[in-house]
């Protein structure tokens, strides 16, 4: 008796091919879903806006805002503004990573200091420090410096806290192994503590990146200076909805690229 027959073999074949290529069945489905979700969403939105079920004053057709994105990038305006926002972001990230990692290490190295300041930092992280922008404008002027300085306050804190906890929570077994191999303190830190702490440190860096990026765009929008945030504010006031969504799309693209870069760096450090 032929159990399954021709039809049975046809049903089994795709699975065999995937397994032969080393692609689990689940991964293929996820990849397909990921690839389709945005185009399907855009198609749905296009239909809704064209049918005037959604007001075109507030939501642009995807075809219109993609066209606006291409035009604005081609004439250089959006690229220049994106560059400006990214420059603010880059300077800010360099500052908060340096300060955050250093302070996190010091808080771990000197537990009394960590215990004294950690609750205060936690409170500041939860506070809407963005409302201090008028004060920062006075000290730094209407410049990118005001934006970077203000956002850096909040964005540094998750890096400090995560770094401290990452080092404090390294398994004692790893440390014992290191000591049994007669590693110096420096070697212990470099070869055991640091690699073990990387995942949690990067979790803190990711939070810092999110605070930094969101905060920069938000303050550019509120104050009316700078790059992408200023652009979104300007076109929004002019009811140029396709350009508005083009600007938002650009912010989204920048976020995706930045987070992808962080993930690659983390994998490399592992």
């Amino acid at each position: 008796m032929d159990k399954g027959g021709v039809r049975g073999r046809a049903l089994v074949l795709p699975g065999l091919i995937r397994r032969a290529r080393g692609i689990p069945r689940r991964v293929g489905g996820v990849a397909l879903g990921r690839a389709l979700v945005i185009p399907v969403f855009f198609l749905l939105l296009e239909i809704l806006v064209r049918a005037k079920l959604v007001s075109p004053l507030f939501v642009a057709e995807p075809s219109a805002f993609i066209r606006a994105l291409v035009v604005k990038m081609a004439d250089g305006e959006l690229l220049w503004l994106t560059g400006r926002s990214l420059a603010e972001f880059g300077i800010g990230m360099a500052a908060i990573a340096t300060i955050g990692l250093t302070m996190g290490y010091l808080f771990w190295r000197f537990p009394v200091m960590g215990g004294a300041y950690e609750p205060l930092l936690g409170g500041i992280m939860a506070a809407p420090t963005i409302l201090l922008y008028p004060v920062f404008l006075i000290f730094f002027g209407r410049t990118a410096g005001a934006i970077i300085a203000l956002i850096a306050i909040q964005a540094t804190i998750p890096i400090v806290l995560n770094t401290r906890h990452a080092l404090a929570e390294v398994s004692p077994t790893f440390i014992k192994v290191g000591r049994s191999l007669n590693l110096s303190e420096r070697q212990l830190f470099r070869h055991i503590l640091l690699p073990a702490a990387v995942p949690m440190v990067f979790a803190g860096l990711r939070l810092g990146i999110i605070y930094m990026l969101l905060g920069i765009i938000a303050l550019e929008y509120i104050i009316g200076i700078g790059g992408l945030g200023w652009f979104i504010s300007e076109v929004g006031y002019r009811f140029d909805t396709p350009a508005l969504y083009a600007g938002i799309g650009m912010v989204f693209l920048v976020s995706v690229v930045v987070m992808y870069g962080v993930n690659r760096v983390q994998r490399a450090l592992k």
Partner: protein, 353 residues
């Protein structure tokens, strides 16, 4: 002792006390003999509640007229109860009205309303609100090296409220004037938001030239902390009959509430007239509304100079050519509106006689 018993024991004296109080209370007064029936009073006017965008609420033409209309009962006479919603000017309030959240907005830059109209937004101008903008003044710190507006503002940061506002159009016109005169570099327009924010920005050097609207910051002029350096109606051509700001409404709401809009404008006109006939009382109302004293002799003496009655006419004067030119400079519209489009945007049907 279990909890239930405790509760009961606690409640019993409470009930007893309440019976005691009731028993000791004086007897209810007997009602007076019924008076002869009076003629039936006219049925009170049904009250319509509406929200109103009030930008830069410290100014007489916004918060002041609103305070007068409310306190003198002009709005109530027209059967209206108005709740103010505050913004910082320009296209910010256009978005609020277009969304349908608030049906009417005051003193909005005509450029931002035109810009929304050409994009298909449901907006209709119901009246003019500020002709010539004589009440808006640009100033510098008293010790600033800037003495005048011609050439000296080259490359300087000049503030305005929000994109699409009357102050924005004035700064764009100033920049255009510099370009036509060949004075380079032209001034730099900086959006500074409200008048208090702008004063802080100017005094701390964030910008070189700030703006204010009468009567806000008049005390700073009086104390010589700041001084006047530029006023478009005085210094630029064509501003005498320029409709700078308008009162406008959401068209969808307006179609169902035409009489409400007319009633509002009648009340508004009464408030405007009252302010010129009784300026001291008008400023007292404004002071009460904003919570800051504004009724000084200096301020009141400047009323007709900075806000002449003719500038508050609800009916427009002259053509819209300059307004459209400014709207194009600000990228709110790409081409001038046709007469038919202007008639649709500003039908003149709501202005009281």
């Amino acid at each position: 002792m279990n909890q239930r018993r405790v509760v009961i024991l606690a409640l019993v004296p409470l009930f007893a006390l309440s019976f005691l109080v009731a028993a000791c209370a004086p007897p209810a007064p007997t009602p007076p003999a019924a008076a002869p029936a009076a003629p039936a009073a006219p049925a009170p006017k049904a009250i319509t509640k509406i929200k109103l965008v009030v930008p830069q609420k410290d100014a007489m033409a916004t918060g002041g007229f609103y305070a007068i209309a409310t306190n003198k009962g002009y709005l109530k006479d027209e059967g209206l109860e108005v709740e103010p919603v505050y913004t910082r000017g320009g296209a910010e309030q256009v978005q609020v009205v277009v969304s349908g959240e608030v049906p009417i907005a005051l003193q909005t830059g005509i450029a931002s309303v035109m810009g929304a109209f050409v994009k298909g937004a449901p907006v209709t101008i119901i009246s003019s609100a500020d002709i010539g903008s004589p009440s808006v003044i640009w100033y510098v710190k008293a010790d600033s090296p800037i003495k005048g507006w011609k050439k000296e503002l080259a490359g300087k940061k000049v503030g305005y409220s929000r994109p699409g506002s009357g102050s924005h159009m004035a700064v764009l016109d100033l920049i255009d004037y510099y370009k036509t005169q060949g004075w380079t570099p032209p001034p730099v327009a900086v959006s500074t938001g409200g008048m208090p924010d702008t004063l802080a920005a100017t005094l701390t050097g964030q910008i070189d030239v700030g703006w204010t609207g009468y009567p806000v910051n008049m005390d700073q002029f009086e104390k010589r902390v700041i001084r006047d350096v530029f006023r478009p109606m005085r210094d630029l051509a064509g501003w005498d009959n320029l409709v700078v700001r308008v009162n406008f409404a959401n068209s969808n709401w307006l179609d169902k509430n035409r009489e409400v809009a007319r009633a509002f404008l009648r009340a508004w006109k009464r408030a405007t007239d009252f302010s010129y006939e009784n300026p001291r009382e008008a400023f007292l109302f404004l002071s009460g509304f904003v919570g800051t004293p504004m009724e000084s002799d200096f301020v009141i003496s400047k009323y007709e100079e900075y806000q002449p009655r003719a500038s508050q006419s609800l009916a427009p004067r002259g053509s819209y050519d300059l307004a459209m030119k400014q709207a194009i400079m600000g990228k709110f519209i790409e081409r001038p509106l046709t007469k038919a489009e202007m008639d649709k945007l500003f039908p003149l049907a709501y202005i009281p006689k």
